[in-house]
């Protein structure tokens, strides 16, 4: 706890100063509410408007979690497949990288044309942004497995699948978690972008409505929740990582 205070007081005080500056300047300089509302006004809207945006928020959370889960599963599956079958890897890897060069903003309307306004095109977008960091990080993890472990396993007569399950997979865990952390934050963005395309619920929808009616305070509320959601997600995975790689200890580099 002491440690938290010692490390945290600097960024916290910068944040407080920034908010204070924002609050005072919007009061004293008379900046109109629709241009830049004061932090207090945003907090007020956040509290009083809860019942209005809560359904949007939960819809986005559900969409994010579903998309992230599918995206991670796809990422892990792709990495495993490409790792175990090098020929497939050679054939598919360039395609994987290309898939990341398609601008999502351009792809999104196309997906709506092909799949309609349902949940499917939205999930496709999230999966598309999610799976790549996981697949790449996982493949790197597999490949970096220390040769001495694999050498021992081979000499001891382990099969390819035993080597994969008992050595390569656990060795890659820290890398997998790096991928998951990146994807977690991406998935929230992906969800919001996909909602812009046409949905009837979600923080993305709430945000579009708010900005087109000049309710800037609501836009900020939406931004705040998007940030919180990403952060929460990130922390959750960090905790999971700590538990899953507890063998590493404080000073061990595996």
């Amino acid at each position: 706890m002491n440690n938290v205070i010692q490390k945290g007081w600097r960024p916290t005080s910068v944040l407080i100063l920034l908010l204070l500056f924002w609050e005072l300047s919007s009061r004293w300089m008379g900046i109109p509410e629709w241009l830049l509302p004061a932090p207090t006004a945003i907090v007020q809207e956040g509290i009083s408007g809860w019942s209005a945006y809560a359904p949007h928020l939960f819809s986005t959370i559900r969409l994010t979690l579903t998309g992230f889960t599918i995206g991670s599963a796809v990422g892990l599956a792709v990495a495993t497949l490409l790792h175990l079958i090098p020929k497939v890897r050679e054939a598919v890897y360039p395609l994987l990288i290309l898939s990341q060069n398609i601008p999502i903003i351009v792809l999104a309307p196309l997906l709506v044309i092909w799949f309609g306004f349902g949940v499917l095109p939205k999930l496709i977008i999230i999966v598309l942004v999610c799976f790549f960091p996981i697949a790449v990080a996982t493949m790197d993890g597999f490949r970096q497995t220390k040769n001495e472990y694999i050498h021992y396993m081979k000499m001891a007569g382990a099969t390819q699948s035993q080597i994969f399950r008992k050595v390569e997979w656990p060795y890659a865990l820290p890398s997998i978690f790096s991928g998951l952390k990146i994807s977690a934050t991406y998935s929230v963005m992906g969800a919001v972008i996909s909602e812009w395309l046409g949905a009837n619920k979600g923080i993305g929808v709430y945000m579009t409505l708010a900005s087109s009616s000049f309710r800037t305070d609501r836009v900020f509320v939406a931004i705040f929740f998007i940030m919180m959601l990403s952060l929460l997600f990130f922390l959750l995975i960090t905790q999971l990582e700590k538990w899953a790689t507890r063998w590493k200890g404080e000073n061990a580099r595996g």
């Binding site: 050498h151 007569g157 790689t245």
Partner: protein, 245 residues
């Protein structure tokens, strides 16, 4: 009958002939050391016995059965302990047995205890010292179901004190379990102290230069390394090695 029989084996990588007409055997419950100049192909020999590569010519037999290119026929202890960092000591020592579908946690526990590692069963490798890790690595090879153990310079990375302690411990443990052992080392003293027979390999391409029978009785006391007979043998091997260099 010989436990392991290396029958006129040749192996080359490209144009590089590494093993040439190599022939020797290891008998049941015998401790055989192989010494030779570095880069003479000792590790290649182990990889052949381990089945990672196939010999170009000749045959490798274990218990009278041909094992050319057959993985997992021997139990192996590598140069570095190679314990998996995400497994506890106990989980690590049963790995060799686990690969072959046999697990005896009870034997494992009693062996850990005999090795002076009790209390560390649930520690991770990074919490153990280098000597403790090597002990764990040797227990792992003892617990593996194969009857021949191949050790690849297991003590070369340890400091002098730990090495002497480990040699004594290895001898005691081996005398209790009586398995056949093939031991690679570049340390003449270590080879003399531990083995029944020493096989001296020539420089590349490696072939058997000479064989020495080690006359000391068992159980051996560490103090034999200071006896005149021991030093004399050491000298003989040394001069033989010098011819090679």
């Amino acid at each position: 009958m010989a436990k392991l029989n290396i029958d006129h084996v040749n192996k080359s990588f490209g144009d590089n002939l590494v093993l040439k007409d190599l022939a020797f055997d290891v008998k049941e419950e015998e401790f055989v050391s192989i010494i030779g100049p570095s880069g003479s192909g000792k590790s290649t020999l182990f990889h052949l016995i381990g089945g990672l590569y196939e010999p170009d010519d000749g045959m490798i037999q274990l218990d009278g059965k041909r094992i050319n290119g057959q993985k997992g026929a021997i139990s192996y202890m590598p140069q570095s302990p190679s314990l998996l960092p995400w497994r506890t000591l106990l989980e690590n020592v049963v790995l060799g047995a686990e690969i072959h579908g046999k697990m005896e946690e009870k034997t494992a526990k009693s062996m850990i205890q005999k090795a002076g590692l009790s209390g560390f069963e649930h520690s991770y490798p990074h919490e153990l010292s280098g000597g403790m890790q090597q002990r764990a690595s040797f227990i792992r090879s003892l617990l593996s179901p194969q009857s021949l153990i191949c050790l690849d310079e297991p003590f070369s990375a340890l400091d002098e004190f730990t090495r002497l302690e480990m040699q004594k411990w290895l001898l005691d443990t081996w005398e209790q379990h009586q398995r056949s052992i093939l031991f690679i080392t570049h340390n003449i003293e270590e080879a003399l102290y531990l083995s029944d027979r020493i096989i001296l390999l020539s420089d590349r391409p490696a072939t058997v230069q000479r064989e020495f029978k080690v006359p000391f009785t068992r159980p051996r006391d560490p103090s034999i390394v200071l006896t005149e007979e021991f030093l004399k043998m050491k000298q003989t091997i040394h001069s033989e090695l010098k011819v090679l260099l």
